[in-house]
Symmetry: C2
Subunit: 306 residues, 2 copies
Amino acid sequence: MSLTVVGSIAFDAVTTPFGEREKMLGGSAVHFSLAASFFTDVRVVGPVGEDFTEIELGVLENRGVLTEDIERVPGAETFFWKGHYEYDLNTAHTDDTRLNVFGDFDPKLSEASSSADVLFLANIQPDLQRRVRAQCQGTRFAALDSMNLWIDTARDSLCQAISEVDCVLINDAEIRQLTDQPNLARAARLVMEMGPKAVIAKQGEYGAALFTPSGFFALPGFPLEDVRDPTGAGDSFAGGFLGYLDGESGPIDELALRRAMAYGTVLASFNVEEFGTERVARLTRDEIDSRMEALRTMTDFGVRNA
Amino acid sequence: MSLTVVGSIAFDAVTTPFGEREKMLGGSAVHFSLAASFFTDVRVVGPVGEDFTEIELGVLENRGVLTEDIERVPGAETFFWKGHYEYDLNTAHTDDTRLNVFGDFDPKLSEASSSADVLFLANIQPDLQRRVRAQCQGTRFAALDSMNLWIDTARDSLCQAISEVDCVLINDAEIRQLTDQPNLARAARLVMEMGPKAVIAKQGEYGAALFTPSGFFALPGFPLEDVRDPTGAGDSFAGGFLGYLDGESGPIDELALRRAMAYGTVLASFNVEEFGTERVARLTRDEIDSRMEALRTMTDFGVRNA
């Protein structure tokens, strides 16, 4: 069991109605790997600049994330994203994006990274996703995330990338946009016809829905009275989801996918409680199990009390 | 066991991307009572005009709905609503509303109507809701629906009406608007502090969430590849929900509310498959039970297969 994630390692500047941070650790691969680290060995692949210090590396390593494949680019700065949220925390408004080290990133995976059982291609340019995918031939399960930017600017490459993975996790509006199909169930079926056997529609505070050839499954977002920063929620979901699938020894069947959805929901819910990685960095397995049990209780209507 | 609903009985003109109807039976009390009729005896209270014929009455009576308390107003026309939907079926665009008989409606309930065990105050002016509520003193459970119009124009009366019922069912955006609180969990708690012990946030295709003092429960919308007309989905949900609660002999506890949410979800899903009342008018109990079982399967992640 081993899990490789390729994606952004970033500094984020984030303002929400509940506070702000000028420069904090972020990025899709970071949120993903912290969440997945509770279930399996995670290896992060991605570039950082000279401004990336032992402090940020320590956040990952304290959770046991394997960081040897983080590539330090001399004379360059780490990917930077600045954004803010209004009271509607479902919508991120981007104020600045500096690709920095990501501009010339050409992923070359180590032997250890490329032999992963499970692979996550976080939301990066689809050509890059495909170059990584081509280096990982022995995966049990590969998944990708994407976004409207790539649907607009690199649709053909994205469709090809999708055809090469087992699972797609994207926002539900983007599934509709990608397929030009307003009905989500139909849109998900069209994505499955491209190749993947599972499609996960991320729905922000409404949770997430799983479409497979054999069924449909959905979970609400975990209800929280205090949501401070939704940045990274989707990647934390993916980390809980794929981390669980890799960590479990059993087959990746319908029920495993559903339980993985529940772990994804739980990890995403912790992520948004505080800024950036602050909450997940000090999360415990007991807290995860306890919220998992709460989620199960919240979705049960099958049996009446005696 | 007996259920009274007060609300609109209407003619609707509806256009969706999948077809149109120039004048069809509609209205909140109609959609509600057809859905509830599968579980209990439903009595409809509301005015109609001289244009309301035996054909429309027959749709209700064929489902066993008790129509003696429908008030026929001489020389007047039935409430009329005209609207359309774009590809985003979550948003209804109103093109015309004619109150007609509803302009002077002053509900006076019969002995049979006012002695109901369960009462639903569908989305009408809150002063009217309160006048009806005052006539029904022996209810086990009373619920109301409302909308942004009344939050804007009759907030005090609406808050008073809310304080007099056991359960509020409104769209989640309206719960936030009513309480001026963007976080749904907090907003629901504020509504409970007004009096109700249950708050249901209707979330369109994302389903519905139930907040009670003891817990949270949510169900996704039933995934459908063919949604033709969402008009009346919320009222069909309420009908399945309250119909089940009235029809069951047991206590209205947390589990009963959850099972009622599931029946609401199922009835709403049938409602949207065709225009107006067309689908629910010929629905069978077997179809309901079968979809209920499918919904249960779709939300189960508790037990791994052997």
